[in-house]
Symmetry: C2
Subunit: 324 residues, 2 copies
């Protein structure tokens, strides 16, 4: 995603995001040199801080106080970071966003415990907010994330799965943490129950839309745009939405089988990607993403009047319409 464009979209959040950035740096600090090195590396690798952005915007619908809101904005990003590190350990991925991963930089053991540490810090951090319900939302989100990781492993290389399986998977993988970010921002600022509900749903829908686009881009973008090989989901055996729609097409099915069995030639791999790119699977997946986007925008509409509404709309549109 174009980080610069996104930053312009939420430029009025800049000073608050700087506070979050400092809090994140403080939160990952510990008495272990190795741990600090690994965590700092992760922090510097950056990322869009989309989850804290959703927390901050959602908090505008209640009493906006950074002292309170940071208690939820920091942990959602820490959990996101933790899941990235653990994904790296798992997938043997060597680069993420063009940088070397923690794993490559130090080693697998440290990466795993760094992820654990970030999870634990997230939970410790949110206890700064004296609100058991918020703790429940965050811990439940973590549970679902973890179950999602395992189900993703179960579903790998599995062609006998439905669109519903896919949607349930990306809900856990992506949507639930974005949904929790919106919900927690609203809860922390004391927004009313109806507003909390709309923001929670908004986060869920936009998370779904976002992940579908992400999965489309993995197929249609160039290696350079992605910072990793195009089609790498498929290479790892993850069947995403555009593929699910076309998996039985006669030009695709045999190549797909070869791919999932792990003995595909470079030539056939490229042919498979081109076939999927030119199929209607991409269009169909975009339609579903768009449907979720509309649902997200519909939730925003029902929110009380507030300057943050426009920002939520803009970010939603940006996330769902991005080209890479």
């Amino acid at each position: 995603m174009d980080k610069m464009k996104l930053k312009l979209l939420y430029s009025d959040l800049k000073s608050d995001l700087d506070i979050i950035e400092k809090e994140l740096a403080a939160a990952v600090n510990s008495s272990s040199h190795l741990l600090n090195e690994a965590s700092l590396h992760l922090l510097l690798a950056g990322g869009k801080r989309i989850r804290p952005v959703f927390v901050l915007l959602s908090a505008r619908f209640g009493t906006y106080s950074m002292e309170t809101i940071k208690n939820v904005a920091v942990p959602v990003e820490l959990i996101h970071m933790a899941s990235l590190v653990h994904d790296d350990v798992i997938d043997d991925a060597d680069t993420r966003r063009g940088r070397k991963t923690v794993k490559a930089q130090v080693n697998n053991r440290v990466a795993m415990h760094t992820g654990d540490f970030l999870f634990a810090r997230a939970i410790e951090y949110i206890t700064g907010l004296k609100n058991t319900y918020a703790h429940q939302v965050l811990s439940h989100t973590m549970v679902e994330l973890c179950i999602g990781e395992i189900i993703q492993i179960e579903d790998k290389h599995e062609l006998d799965q439905t669109v519903r399986d896919y949607l349930r998977r990306i809900k856990r993988k992506t949507a639930i943490l974005i949904s929790a970010s919106c919900e927690l921002g609203a809860i922390a600022s004391g927004a009313d129950a109806k507003t909390v509900k709309h923001l929670k749903r908004f986060g869920y829908y936009i998370g779904m839309s976002f992940q579908i686009i992400d999965d489309i881009l993995d197929i249609v973008s160039t290696d350079e745009q992605l910072g990793k090989p195009s089609g790498s989901d498929l290479l790892q055996g993850n069947i995403t939405l555009p593929v699910l729609y076309v998996k039985d097409y006669p030009t695709i099915a045999p190549l797909l089988k070869e791919m999932l069995e792990g003995n595909i030639s470079e030539e056939h791999k490229n042919k498979l990607l081109i076939e999927i790119r030119n199929s209607d699977g991409i269009k169909k997946a975009k339609q579903i993403s768009n449907l979720y986007l509309q649902k997200a925008l519909n939730e925003v509409k029902q929110l009380p009047p507030n300057s943050a509404k426009k920002s939520l709309q803009n970010i939603a549109l940006f996330m769902s319409k991005r080209k890479f």
Copy 2:
């Protein structure tokens, strides 16, 4: 440790421990087949449930209600289980207590996410108790555990370390979770602040004593008694207390160097173990363990009169005097 003997020691807790056991089984249940398999395997592998026992006994000093207490008894065991799974991933250990580890049974990826899941469930479970301070105690414990894991990696193969480094390490590795178990049991039952403090300290001291004994037994026990090769800590590069005391002895230093450099012969390895076994390092380590035991017993003495006092004393003595 002799599980049967220990069970006799806390036979009056049997029915409450059965409740905890059922709650543990329910807590690890999820919609993922793979995850259930891995978790159930872990549950069946058993363990002494020492941490829940400390929770239950500590809760006797307040208003004892299982409905409340289970909210802390279950998570401390889940965290212990999670750290065991992650240790397995890390250490490439293939057996634990004579059973195949989750890792060997399924694979590394699943084991890592199973550990994450158990951590998350622990945190989710404790939110059943509407007490932010208890949440803080548990999350802080998790943070320290994770830092401890990394520091253990940092200190591996490192002969230039002090007894203080060792003690700080086992505090994080073992003592802090036992201490938290006692503290949380007392907090959950609404015991008074002074009682909470004594129980927290008791747990810390007994945890330290227990881990030192564990480290001694790793050297002096037979492979059969341990269910793993004698001296495996040392083989993995972990320098424990008995070794720290004698690492510079002329009969030990050169062999130890060989061992840590990873190119020791079977003959030299056995010679090294025998040298350490026959040295005063064992005696000195036992003295330190004993010191912690005395401190633990001293805390028990200061607790208000209660039938659980005797049980705490008995378990403390048992844990610190065990022969394997």
